[in-house]
Symmetry: C2
Subunit: 233 residues, 2 copies
Amino acid sequence: MDCINQRGIAYGIGVGPGDPELMTLKAVRLIRENDIIVVPGKDPKDSVAYKIAEAVIPEISGKTLVSVSMPMVNDKEALTHSHREAAKQIESYLDDGKNVVYLTLGDVSIYCTFSYLQKILEEDGYAVELVSGIPSFCAAAARLNTPLVEGKEELHIVPGFYRRNETVSYDGTTVLMKSASHMSDVKEYLREKNTTVFAVENCGMENEKVYQTLDEIPDDAGYFSLIIAKNKY
Amino acid sequence: MDCINQRGIAYGIGVGPGDPELMTLKAVRLIRENDIIVVPGKDPKDSVAYKIAEAVIPEISGKTLVSVSMPMVNDKEALTHSHREAAKQIESYLDDGKNVVYLTLGDVSIYCTFSYLQKILEEDGYAVELVSGIPSFCAAAARLNTPLVEGKEELHIVPGFYRRNETVSYDGTTVLMKSASHMSDVKEYLREKNTTVFAVENCGMENEKVYQTLDEIPDDAGYFSLIIAKNKY
């Protein structure tokens, strides 16, 4: 009779958007309890998600830190290749019966690189569990001391501003994420709409900046910039 | 010279959608550090938000628990009146130099009753701070082990299904919250769309139920039901 190893579980864990105190109790417990910590990027210790976790769990630096390459490129073949490689790294630990904790910024279900790995891991028969983190737009609203939506208003999360003429104008509140590379276009677009605009750059991080009007937002705002546009009624 | 009291701060704190382990470190700290706990409803100890906090911070039961009436009615005058009364209760503690912690389910910036009180408190010159909680739709996605959105997909949060013909059909993923009272209409509407549907009832609570298809969702699903509808491409 073959001896069947109990495979480990792959946890995708959101550590929230920046402030280490916005980590959940569950995220902290699972990072403490497990020894294999996977972080996207070249050096795990350079990643923002790792630094957030380390601020609460300093002993993380003594765990097995595994970096996986998750390049942001448009070449589908290259992407698929790096996702397969990253999944293979994770699976080697799972096969040894070890759990793996993948750290990700914000929430794990919203524009998260782990989603690509999850698909491969599940296809390969491994168990995956997701642990929610505070999404950046919630933290930005709290930082701005403003509700995102009330009553019957709708909330629309738009992952980027790609093509000006194709960007739909929604009722309620629209959050524009990762629009920094087109900031002057975004500002021109929003200026024409009847909206109240706020923005937060690097929410909860040391270099956080808060903008209370559209005009305050610099054209060269950084990658972690998030715009909240509320329709005026 | 008059003696000027230092006024307290009103904290609006999201305790997440149900699982006490999804509370943030910041929420736990602020509940521990402060003595006046405000909860909407008749008996504070009956409220779901209170029970979530109590599971992590049992000593909360020895604090000053204040119930405020936040009725869900359509009568605007009655609503304004109860919000003013609730704000008055909170302000009496703030005037005494005490901080007040208002507990709310999910996140504090998304369809939160505290938003009404915040407006009054700020108009009256009091300091308000918001502390994010995990929104129900993030926890539901994690429970279902499915990403909400990936890549260029948009995420739309719709607070209720009111009038069938006016409900807009969006690209990407749509989350329907608080649609239980119209569930059979909602199901009929979604059946006509080309969507993959999941739902979670009472996410993270003892009586949690998970539905992996539209047909599994019962017509009499409870108030804390949340539907995730993903467009098929």
